[in-house]
């Protein structure tokens, strides 16, 4: 048994309702990718909008207020883009949304104006001395992958749930749910569910072997005349709260 707490990337947070939730902080690699995407979007937008403004008034010289317009646009795109998206779009800029990241407060709540403004203004510090060198180093060193702005604003960038898991459950509709013979703890139920979600990606032999392993661990033996795979998947369905037709019948 490990003597100390295991090395993990997850963060356990206790909410005000005394419930434990797990947050999955995103490290520097995932965040750099999302940032690059956002940067691309912003540059595209700047190029496009500046072109439009320029061509609208071609031939008439360049009035000063036009330059003002362009600079205002530049300011808004560079500084307000992340803030507005984070506040109004569930903590996600377009780049973060594409790669399924989200900015939240480090107690699990949504970010508000002050936190978002603070963490984005501090990009000035994180960006030093050259292209986020400081920010990236801090992200690598911080246990939850925060940069300076995140530390001071008490925010966290997390991975959001993967929606594709839903599809693998649809495929299990034909397996009848099966109550396990003993009460299982939450971790054990999670293992069953995790097996059911991944089973279609495993080779058939390994899938069968794992199912037998789980069934033997729960039952103590392999029940005769039963398919271990169907039994394990059935218990997984039971664990996510689906009950069999026989149990539901009045």
């Amino acid at each position: 048994m490990p003597p100390t707490a295991p090395i993990d990337t997850y963060v356990r947070v206790e909410t005000a309702e005394a419930m434990d939730i797990f947050l999955r902080p995103a490290g520097v690699f995932a965040r750099a990718r999302a940032y690059a995407m956002d940067l691309l979007f912003r540059l595209l937008w700047l190029w496009l909008s500046s072109m439009l403004v320029m061509f609208m008034f071609v031939g008439g010289g360049t009035p000063e207020w036009m330059m003002g317009l362009i600079f205002l646009n530049l300011f808004a795109t560079m500084w307000l883009y992340p803030v507005l998206f984070e506040v109004f779009w569930h903590g996600q800029t377009p780049g973060k949304r594409i790669f399924r990241l989200q900015v939240i407060s480090d107690n699990g709540a949504q970010v508000g104006w002050s936190a978002s403004l603070l963490r984005n203004l501090l990009r000035l510090a994180d960006g030093l001395p050259f292209l986020y060198a400081l920010g990236m180093s801090v992200m690598l060193l911080h246990p939850q992958g925060k940069r300076i702005g995140d530390v001071l604003a008490s925010t966290l960038v997390v991975h959001t749930d993967d929606a594709r898991v839903q599809a693998s459950w649809q495929a299990l509709q034909t397996v009848p749910p099966q109550a396990p013979p003993v009460a299982l703890t939450r971790e054990e139920q999670q293992a069953l569910v995790s097996f059911a979600e991944r089973q279609h990606k495993l080779p058939p032999a390994r899938r069968q072997e794992l199912a037998e392993l789980l069934v033997v661990a729960i039952y103590g033996h392999l029940p005769a005349r039963t398919d271990a795979l169907a039994l394990a998947l059935g218990m997984a369905r039971y664990s996510v709260g689906e009950r069999s037709a026989a149990e539901r019948a009045p």
Partner: protein, 523 residues
């Protein structure tokens, strides 16, 4: 060594979190790793700098090129850190210096040096000790689980090394000459002139032969950055490797099964044999893995198919010419230009403006359309309005298409041995009630499962009935298994109670246990 005693929390992560797990492993003993890397690489830099004293850029390139040599010792210590906290610097050095020369190093330093997935594959070489064909098979299998993120890691690494090295150079410049930005802010009038002067002095500095010292400084800074980044690169790749094996061998499920058996006191005889087989540092026996089809065979059969009639034959036709081609070209050149000398701009200004505005609008429209499609296809739309589509899974569900007394009609059809029509009528009649009575928005792309999910979320009181109904309908529609008559009669009774007599309160947010008690109350 047994993965059961691992200090890592093994669970299914996505590949990017796996990279972070490797970084966590590194962060536990960052000083140790930096020291190990520095001990191996800085003497080499010294040697290279002396050898290439007049051409320091070669020293930098060679230092970069020889990086894989220092990675194996770091990986060795990392892999032990998975089980026990690593010992002191001295012990680590004693244990790992032999790894500077390892099998396959020559290949890794030459034709495999530019591979993108180097970090993921290093453990296969160093820890599993695989070689040749076995290495190739193993590499392909693991790359299925983490190859993409491995390539991204290398891509990130290239940029990170450059950014940090230039960052250090810039800091050095600031400390020496002062920040040009700061100067510009203080004397804004001078800023442009000053910037130009700074640039020209820098350029002069670089062009002089005396500027060799700058390259040496750059090399030193780069070597220092590598002491920080090199171990992280190895550790992140190792995290990815652990992730790939966790997924391909389902380590976490096995561990959970073993803990479960231990808790319940079941004999482990059957389990022990299985669990011993996945020690971390042994090559995983690929007995359970499906063998991939032979690449050559696949290629052959593909070629065979592509050469057959339905596929078009593409022929590459080239004419090699020497005299005639140049002749036509010179002919063209001699012809006088038909272009007007200058294009008058003024009349085109308005035209340009309109054209570009139109192009911009079209582009915006396309983007809006793409966003709309994306939201549609991903089901991420937040629409909460209870819209009622007219058909779902090909069934008409408008009120006009339903008979007045649905349950009677259903039972009538049932008795006429038309079970399919009966279940279909009952299911679509119930569906028709959802948007109108419970405000549940449905779209005609919804599946039965999604509808069930919506009912559970928005009308929990109805969930038990809906689950039962969906099951009966799916059995009938896709498996061609009819429900029992009792079941159908009960379903009709419930339909009558919920939708005709309205006994269920609308939008109940009852929990699962409450709805269970209502189920038990039914006769």
């Amino acid at each position: 060594m047994d993965i059961g005693t691992s200090r890592l929390a093994l669970r299914t992560r996505n590949a990017w979190e796996a990279l972070d797990l490797g970084v966590r492993l590194w962060a536990e003993r960052k000083g140790l790793y930096a020291a190990l890397w520095a001990t191996y690489s800085l003497p080499l830099l010294l040697l290279l700098s002396l050898l290439f004293w007049r051409a320091p850029w070669w020293a930098g390139v060679l230092l970069w090129w020889l990086k894989p040599a220092f990675e194996a010792p770091i990986l060795k210590v990392l892999s032990e850190q998975v089980f026990t906290p690593p010992p002191s610097y001295r012990q680590c050095m004693a244990a790992t210096w032999r790894l500077l020369w390892r099998p396959r190093l020559l290949g890794d330093l030459t034709w495999r040096r530019l591979g993108w997935r180097r970090s993921l594959l290093l453990p296969v070489t160093v820890l599993e000790g695989l070689n040749g064909r076995a290495h190739q098979l193993r590499r392909d299998e693991l790359a299925r689980y983490g190859g993409g993120a491995g390539a991204w890691l290398s891509f990130f690494g290239i940029h990170f090394e450059a950014i940090l090295t230039y960052g250090l150079l810039i800091v050095g410049y600031w400390l020496w000459f002062g920040s040009p930005v700061q100067d510009a802010l203080v004397e804004s009038a001078m800023s442009m002139k000053q910037a130009a002067e700074t640039m020209s002095t820098l350029m002069q500095l670089l062009q002089q032969d005396d500027a060799l010292w700058l390259y040496h400084v750059y090399n030193l800074l780069y070597a220092l950055v590598l002491c920080f980044w090199g171990p992280i690169y190895v550790a992140a790749g190792f995290g990815l490797y652990l992730h790939a094996r966790t997924l391909s061998e389902a380590w976490d499920v096995r561990l959970a099964a073993r803990r479960l058996a231990a808790r319940l006191g079941h004999p482990l005889a059957a389990l022990a044999a299985v669990c011993l087989g996945f020690a971390l540092l042994l090559p995983a026996t690929p007995v359970h893995a499906e063998t991939l089809p032979d690449v050559q065979q696949v290629d052959n059969s593909r070629e065979a198919v592509l050469t057959q009639p339905p596929f078009a034959h593409l022929k590459d036709k080239r004419n090699y010419c020497w005299r005639s081609c140049t002749k036509t070209e010179t002919d063209k050149k001699d012809r006088p230009s038909t272009q007007p000398a200058a294009v008058p701009t003024a009349p085109f200004a308005l035209f340009n403006m309109v054209l570009y505005a139109l192009a911009g609008l079209v582009l915006l429209g396309v983007i809006a359309l793409l966003v709309y499609w994306w939201r549609q296809s991903r089901g991420l739309s937040q629409v909460q309005v209870a819209e009622a589509p007219e058909t779902l899974f090909g069934l008409a569900i408008t009120p006009q298409s339903l008979p007045a007394d649905v349950p009677t009609q259903v039972l009538h059809l049932w008795q006429q041995q038309d079970a399919r029509a009966a279940m279909s009528l009952l299911y679509r009649a119930s569906l028709a009630q959802l948007p109108r009575r419970y405000g549940i928005a449905l779209r005609d792309s919804n599946t039965e499962g999604e509808v069930l999910q919506r009912v559970r979320q928005s009308a929990a009181g109805l969930a038990a009935y809906w689950q039962r109904l969906t099951h009966a309908w799916l059995q009938q529609a896709y498996a061609h298994r009819s429900s029992s008559e009792v079941e159908v009669i009960q379903l009709c009774d419930q339909y009558r109670r919920y939708f005709v007599h309205n006994t269920l309160p609308e939008n109940t947010t009852a929990t699962r246990t409450q709805s269970a008690s209502t189920r038990e109350a039914q006769p």
